[in-house]
């Protein structure tokens, strides 16, 4: 069983009082949502410093989600590439991705706040499924906003959300993808703010969301750090994660950020490289890097993986990039499709296309790799 004391150490820095990590973050929301964000922030601060809340969170992660997730040595691929590749297996969590960590945390918070209805945006459907799952678990109702285009691309997850009792509402404006689902969820939240909790799926949005979502995912990095050290007797040299909004990367990095000898690498899709090709913007309640045209209209991201199809990135990543603490590199869809097959064939592990971005970067950069 996980113990609070073992995962409570503070890892990444806290944002300042206005919610900024360096220059990025903040709370750029319309007046009707200012109070709602303040309410979430106060509730989160209170809950996160309450040992009972954190123990309940960890109990659910243990007994329902199945944590700690294992650390797997990629024996065959390591030999092919001439390095030692280890995978932190968030794919083995209940519902099939890291997204559930954050959702359990936020749903518990919503319950503590007396909210009865969860809303969420989703791209690939993974976060929507995780939110629908938590709503079912805690006896709440759930509405998931999803771009019309994504609904077509991810029919299976739409069906899954329905099975779990959630209602899926198509976002039919703009590019009809994840960014528009976020707009739609924000609009819904404004209307129903009294009983509704907006469960954001990545480290984006107005303060306190980027900080809170990362905090709920820190368990990834904490576990991984202990597991690697237990097995190897030392830290890893590089910690790599794919970056859409950046939640799984933030969770992993949290375990290593204060060990400067560990390189932190975020891998973005070439068609959605918000850190690599974006510039600072104010969108979706935060200041962070976004892909946009010269006047500031947000442009669509294009990636083979729906979960990375987001034109922005969480503010803490913008800051880590500016500080030079983390590095961000793009990989192309072709490289990702190759990596997807390589891991499947060599290790018997079929990775999410999102995660395959991280694998593709490692293959590309291994001295003995095919890259």
């Amino acid at each position: 069983m996980l113990e609070v004391s073992s995962v409570q150490r503070k890892k990444m820095t806290e944002p300042n009082a206005l919610g900024f990590f360096g220059e990025y973050g903040g709370r750029y929301v319309p007046e009707p949502l200012v109070g709602a964000c303040q309410e979430v922030e106060a509730a989160f601060r209170d809950a996160w410093s309450d040992t009972a809340f954190r123990q309940e969170f960890l109990d659910i992660l243990t007994n329902y989600v199945g944590r700690p997730s294992p650390l797997t040595d990629c024996v065959n691929l390591s030999e092919d590439l001439g390095l030692r590749l280890m995978l932190k297996r968030e794919d083995l969590n209940h519902t099939g991705s890291h997204k559930i960590n954050n959702v359990i945390g936020q749903a518990l918070l919503a319950k503590r706040m007396g909210k009865t209805h969860l809303i969420a945006e989703t791209g690939a459907g993974q976060h929507g499924v995780a939110t629908a799952t938590a709503a079912a678990l805690f006896g709440m109702t759930c509405t998931v906003y999803m771009g019309e285009v994504d609904i077509k691309r991810q029919e299976l997850n739409v069906y899954r959300m329905g099975l779990l009792g959630a209602t899926v509402i198509p976002a039919s404006s703009g590019s009809r993808t994840l960014k528009d689902a976020v707009n739609e969820a924000m609009r819904a939240w404004v209307t129903e703010v009294e009983h509704t909790y907006y469960c954001i799926g990545t480290v984006m949005g107005p303060h306190p969301y980027p900080w809170m979502v990362r905090s709920f995912h820190e368990i990834i990095g904490c576990e991984a750090q202990r597991q690697v050290v237990a097995r190897l007797g030392k830290m890893p040299d590089v910690a790599v994660a794919c970056v859409g909004g950046g939640s799984n990367a933030a969770g992993l990095f949290a375990g290593f950020v204060d060990h400067p000898e560990v390189r932190l690498v975020g891998v973005e899709p070439a068609g959605g490289a918000a850190v690599g090709r974006g510039v600072p913007a104010v969108v979706h309640g935060m200041k962070a890097h976004f892909l946009q045209d010269e006047v500031g209209q947000v442009v669509e991201a294009e990636s083979i993986s729906a979960g990375l199809d987001y034109p922005g990135v969480g503010p803490e990543h913008s800051n880590l990039a500016d500080m030079g603490r983390a590095e961000y590199y793009p990989v192309t869809d072709d490289m990702v499709v190759d990596a997807f097959q390589v891991l499947s064939k060599r290790e018997g592990i079929i990775p999410a296309l999102e995660s395959a971005h991280a694998i593709a970067w490692v293959i590309e950069n291994a001295d003995d790799g095919q890259g």
Partner: protein, 295 residues
């Protein structure tokens, strides 16, 4: 021509008018420093004090090719000021109609600079208020945007996703260029926050009539009236109700508790459905007449 020759040139004019052209040709940036001198707040307050209820129609820049004619038409139909929507790709505060209007305008190729440059070519009889989202201002540059607003004849701006605690740089630029910064108040704003909003807004205070996004609604809810009363109790600023005003009855009902109304989606709906500028003008005129008769 040789060493002892005298050459006479007729220096036919002075170059003041050309310095920006030359600077641009040389790649030098000079802020074209415009300052607005028209006070929206003074004009609205004076009209209100004379017993008139204020009517502020909204037009999305670029929704139709001749959108500026629409601005002119609503002014002739009785507008006291006009809100100019500068369309953004992700208008999270707007309902379906304004979203659609924004998409149509963006498809027509409108840009913030394009919209302001077009406005600059005309003079309007009432003050204009630019309404957009902060990212477009952030990209444009606070200073340059404020200056270009002033040049375009805008007396004020509404940036709904920029709460006052983060508005520092924009606020400074706006003040420097004489642009009033209109803040929104919502039914959920606490008394403490309302006091801060009233302190920091200028032009008027924009009260959101329903908890929600912009859009036509069948019925007006009571929250707006309650909120307007709360604002009136602590301030003398004009209080204008926006969101959900679709017809003359709504306008009259909302104006009972406030100093006037903003009407947006109902007008843009007409244009989106292929209606004419004349039709929009008659919608505005019907509201003007209803307001003047009722008060």
């Amino acid at each position: 021509m040789g060493k002892d020759e005298v050459i006479l040139i007729n220096q036919s004019g002075r170059g003041d008018k050309d310095i920006f052209t030359v600077a641009a040709a040389l790649g030098i940036e000079i802020t074209d420093n415009h300052i607005n001198t028209r006070s929206l707040q003074a004009e609205l307050t004076a009209k209100r004090d004379s017993g008139r209820k204020l009517l502020l129609p909204y037009v999305t820049a670029g929704i139709v090719g001749n959108w500026m004619d629409c601005v002119e038409a609503v002014i002739e139909a009785g507008a006291d000021a006009v809100e100019i929507g500068i369309p953004f790709s992700d208008p999270a505060m707007d309902g379906p109609t304004i979203q659609q209007a924004s998409v149509q305008a963006l498809d027509n190729g409108i840009t913030p600079h394009g919209a302001l440059s077009e406005l600059r070519t005309r003079e309007f009889a009432v003050p204009l208020i630019a309404m957009t989202y902060f990212n477009l201002v952030f990209r444009y540059g606070n200073e340059r945007f404020a200056s270009d607003l002033a040049a375009a004849g805008c007396a004020a701006a509404i940036l709904p996703d920029l709460p006052f605690e983060l508005a520092g740089e924009w606020h400074e630029a706006a003040v420097a260029h004489g642009i009033e910064n209109v803040l929104l108040a919502a039914p959920v704003s606490s008394d403490e926050r309302l006091a801060q909003l009233v302190e920091r807004t200028s032009g008027f205070i924009y009260t959101v009539s329903t908890m929600g996004t912009t859009g036509e609604r069948a019925e007006l809810d009571n929250a707006a009236s309650v909120l307007s009363q709360r604002v009136k109790a602590i301030s003398d600023l004009p209080v204008i109700i926006g969101f959900g005003i679709s017809n003359p009855e709504h306008a009259v009902a909302a104006a009972r508790a406030s100093d006037g109304v903003i009407v947006a989606s109902a007008l843009m709906r007409t244009l989106l459905d292929g209606g004419s500028i004349d039709q929009v003008a008659s919608q505005v005129n019907a509201m003007r007449v209803a307001l003047d008769e009722a008060f």
